[in-house]
């Protein structure tokens, strides 16, 4: 008996174990299907392949924030600078990533459904002018660090990728209305319909508000009337190919700050169309093509010199091929794009009102899983533009996951920021005492960034922690210079003579108890030094920023969310006025309380912004950001 047990034990220890008959049945099929899913997703779980620092803002985050303006959704995020700023081109916000908040943020690329909305005339993004509605947004991806090799020039500090929801409801109607103080109200509605082969969504939004008061007290000329309409549709042409159409328009009338003409108004119209085609050649290969057109007309009436109009056309085309090989361990993306921008404005470019810029780009990206724990990614692009010449861009990253749920990343990126048409060719009387003149010798700025980061999850994925350290240099940094001063006229121009170094640290932690209850905190520290001892550069970025927030499901259908943020004092420069202002440190808190009606798809809510003080100043244009309150209701009907 003993011998028999030992011999059986030896058999069990033998490497070649004789196999029983293959088990069969639905139970084993179930486990087999589960294994396929776990194996496919395990690679993503085990190795966090994102070669960059990414923050995702979901549709739920947007709904809970209580914010009304698109840029307010990005406040309270690590590394972000969001300022209520009113600029000379009618912009109502300045949004930047990893420093350099300014009137025209030329190192941040913003995409909507993959389409660049970067303003070719003066750089940056004119946020209120975007033909995009809050109700349509599925998520916002904030990608920090140089990404020009993947997305194109002017993405040195990062990329904000706004994605709208793909229509998929059989039939639904959504409506939302909110009212607030300072004459604010917004109405939104969307209709969505679809079947197995395709779907579409039509949406419309109207917004009106008085705007911010002057710092001195009385009402400023900051009103806004805005209408937006959008269409998005897709058709599955076959099992392997899909065609998508995006179209939209934005019409605004807004008050402009102009000390010489206090009643100045802007009338903006922006419309676009985009066609996308995707073909899945086989399981591991797909081709995507895109073509788009944009027409953006802005009229400033009156302006210091009378009525100023600027009309910008942009045409884009892109094609790329994505390929997976080596059993999914390697991924390759390559392709090319072409953009043509033309601006017509006699007021900005007297003598030659039409200015044009063509940009051609080729790119290649490669990622490779060296092992289940190590992934390498590289990307390179070469771009040729009329304003910037030929400029390469590179990105390299190594992502290691030595333990499940703990990821380390080291990356390097090099990205160009090409001059705008304004930088190169403008000759505009901005005010009674300021003349802005372009510099045809402007060249591309060059941003290089070295970064290390750690991401980890603990306590069964409830606690998420992320740390990033980066060292960034900006060579040939563009700056506004005084070309001449003959009383009373100050002539400003631009050059590339400066250089900046940015050292930064970002820390983020979030904890989730369950669905509906979570808290977060983040901290950003940045120091900027430059080669010209220009305090507008070295003190232009807040050294410390802290944000805290919480989402709480309170039971019985109630939920609450609050976000609070602090940033150090810093110095901001207004190109339109030629003046700089020290903006003091401030705290800001936004909050929302909502009640969801269990019996139908309805929600009522109250919210407030800037709750901690009656007003504070965020930009040196003379406006104070007030405390605002609002209440709203949203309804969804469907079949």
């Amino acid at each position: 008996m003993l011998f028999r047990i030992i011999s059986l034990a030896v058999l069990a220890l033998s490497a070649s174990v004789s196999r029983a008959a293959e088990p069969s049945g639905e139970l084993m099929e179930f486990f087999e299907e589960e294994a396929k899913v776990v194996t496919a997703s395990r690679r993503l779980e085990f190795v966090r392949e994102a070669p960059v620092a990414v923050e995702i803002i979901t549709a739920d985050d947007i709904r809970r924030s209580g914010a009304v303006n698109l840029w307010d959704f990005m406040r309270f995020r690590v590394g972000m600078n969001v300022i209520d700023a009113r600029s000379g081109d009618g912009n109502r916000a300045a949004v930047s990533v990893r420093g350099f908040p300014a009137e025209f943020v030329d190192k941040l690329l913003v995409l909507v459904d993959g389409r660049s909305v970067y303003n070719g005339l003066s750089g940056g993004t004119v946020w209120e002018d975007l033909p995009l509605q809050v109700q349509d947004i599925e998520r916002i991806e904030i990608i920090r660090g140089p990404n020009a090799a993947l997305y194109g020039s002017n993405a040195g500090l990062g990329v904000i990728n706004i994605l709208t929801k793909k229509p998929q409801e059989p039939l639904s109607l959504f409506t939302d209305a909110l009212w607030g103080n300072r004459g604010m109200h917004r109405e939104q509605a969307s209709l969505e319909q679809g079947n197995r082969r395709g779907a579409y969504r039509l949406s419309f939004a109207h917004k009106a508000l008085e705007g911010h008061p002057l710092t001195a007290g009385p009402r400023g000329n900051d009103f806004l009337y805005s209408n937006k309409a959008n269409f998005r549709g897709y058709w599955d042409l076959s099992e392997k190919s899909t065609l998508e159409l995006f179209s939209g328009g934005s019409w605004e009338t807004l008050g402009l700050l102009d000390s010489a003409v206090p009643w100045s108004q802007g009338r903006f119209r922006n419309d676009f169309e985009m066609l996308k085609y995707a073909y899945a050649a086989h399981k591991n290969s797909s081709i995507q093509a895109m073509a788009s057109r944009r027409d953006d007309l802005r009229v400033f009436d009156p302006n210091f010199v009378g009525v100023l109009a600027a009309r910008e056309y942009q045409y884009d085309a892109e094609i790329l091929h994505q390929l997976g090989w080596r059993d999914g361990r390697a991924h390759t993306t390559y392709g090319g794009s072409f953009r043509h921008v033309s601006v017509d404005s006699a007021g900005i470019f007297p003598g030659k009102p039409r200015q044009e810029n063509s940009i051609g780009r080729g790119f290649l990206s490669q990622s490779f899983s060296v092992s289940p724990r190590l992934n390498l990614t590289g990307a390179a692009s070469i771009e040729r533009s009329d304003t910037g010449g030929t400029e390469p861009a590179y990105q390299l990253a190594a992502v290691a996951t030595p333990l499940p749920e703990h990821t380390f990343r080291a990356s390097y990126g090099s990205a160009p920021t090409i001059p705008t048409l304004y930088n190169k060719s403008a000759s505009q009387r901005a005010s009674a005492t300021v003349l802005l003149v372009g510099n045809p010798n402007m060249t591309a700025q060059r941003l290089r960034s070295y970064e290390v980061s750690y991401q980890g999850s603990f306590l069964d994925n409830r606690l998420l922690i992320e740390n990033n350290l980066f060292y960034m240099t900006v060579g040939k940094l563009a700056r506004t210079i005084v070309q001449s001063y003959v009383f009373p006229l100050l002539t400003l121009s631009f050059d590339n003579s400066n250089r900046a170094v940015v050292r930064g640290a970002e820390f983020k932690a979030s904890y989730k108890w369950d669905a509906g209850r979570s808290v977060y905190a983040n901290y950003t520290h940045e120091t900027v030094s430059d080669g010209k001892a220009d305090i507008n550069v070295s003190r232009g970025t807040p050294a410390h920023k802290v944000n805290l927030g919480a989402v709480m499901a309170l039971g019985l259908g109630f939920s609450a969310a609050a976000n609070a943020g602090y940033q150090d004092g810093h110095r901001l420069y207004s190109q339109a006025t030629g003046q700089a202002l020290d903006v003091g440190a401030y705290w800001r808190m936004d909050a929302r309380l909502a009640y969801a009606l269990a019996s139908c798809g309805a929600e009522i809510y109250i919210a407030g912004q800037n709750l901690l003080r009656p007003t504070h100043v965020e930009f040196p244009e003379g406006l104070a950001v007030p405390r605002t309150y609002l209440a709203g209701i949203s309804l969804k009907f469907g079949k």
Partner: protein, 257 residues
């Protein structure tokens, strides 16, 4: 305008385990549930649906429209982020498991657990903590790939009294299950599993919820989600079945109750 059924149930397929779960779901929700089976194609989920109950990882990992709450079950190797979903576990609650194992096998002091899906890393930690008051230690081993299973079993042989096979889909398969079974029979080490259906493959006993009970528990969670009630993001089904394979139990020296 609004659908009568606010809950949609999405199943990976129409196979037996899913049909059992659907029965359990209907036990709890009666006719308030709208079932869809992924093997039939893209589920046309009405806009009025407020809660999705997903069975199987493929259904759990899909994107669903609007602000629908998600309850998912029968996805043993998958975790959907806590803020998105409520998980109905396929394995029993740790205390319930240990209580039943000790009743089945009073001499149990060392329990071996092999695992491969990353999701079970935290499960092992929790099990270890729960086992301590029962006087049981956990001897666990992370398997990188299936070929390591015989080596790991050889390594822990002599250091364990019984083996607990978690419902890890990377280990419960036609290739590896017979290796566990043969190890169990040859070395008289009871092999405990979470699903009764594995007993006819040679496991000793099962301690775990039936698929029907998982469906019932998912129904309870869906009802709570409809009422916006707060609940844990991970739920162990209230009722577990203890089933013993008497022939195998006798073979490995376990006295069946």
């Amino acid at each position: 305008m609004l659908a009568a059924q606010p809950v949609a149930a999405i199943f990976g397929s129409e196979s037996g385990p899913y049909q059992e779960a659907l029965q359990g779901l209907k036990d709890e929700l009666k006719e308030e549930v709208l079932p869809f089976f992924l093997n039939q194609g893209e589920p046309p989920i009405p806009a009025s649906i407020r809660v999705i109950v997903a069975f199987g990882s493929k259904a759990a990992l899909r994107k669903y429209p609007g602000a629908t709450a998600l309850v998912y079950a029968m996805a043993p190797g998958t975790i959907v982020r806590p803020e998105d979903a409520v998980k109905i576990c396929m394995e029993p609650d740790h205390a319930v498991l240990l209580k039943n194992l000790k009743e089945l096998y009073p001499k149990l002091k060392r329990l071996g657990v092999l695992w491969q899906s990353p999701r079970f890393k935290s499960y092992i930690g929790e099990l270890r903590a729960a086992a301590a008051p029962w006087g049981v230690t956990i001897e666990d081993a992370l398997i990188e790939n299936g070929d390591q299973v015989p080596d790991e079993l050889r390594r822990i042989h002599g250091r364990i009294d019984a083996l607990w096979l978690v419902p890890d889909p990377l280990l419960v398969n036609a290739k590896l299950l017979p290796i566990f079974v043969q190890f169990s029979h040859s070395n008289k080490v009871p092999l405990f599993v979470s699903t009764a259906g594995l007993l006819d493959q040679g496991a000793t006993a099962s301690v775990g919820p039936s698929f029907r009970e998982m469906g019932r528990q998912a129904g309870r969670a869906a009802r709570k989600a409809l009422g916006y009630q707060r609940q844990e993001d991970k739920i162990y089904p209230a009722q577990v079945e203890v089933v013993v394979n008497k022939a195998v139990a006798a073979q490995v020296g376990l006295r069946a109750p």
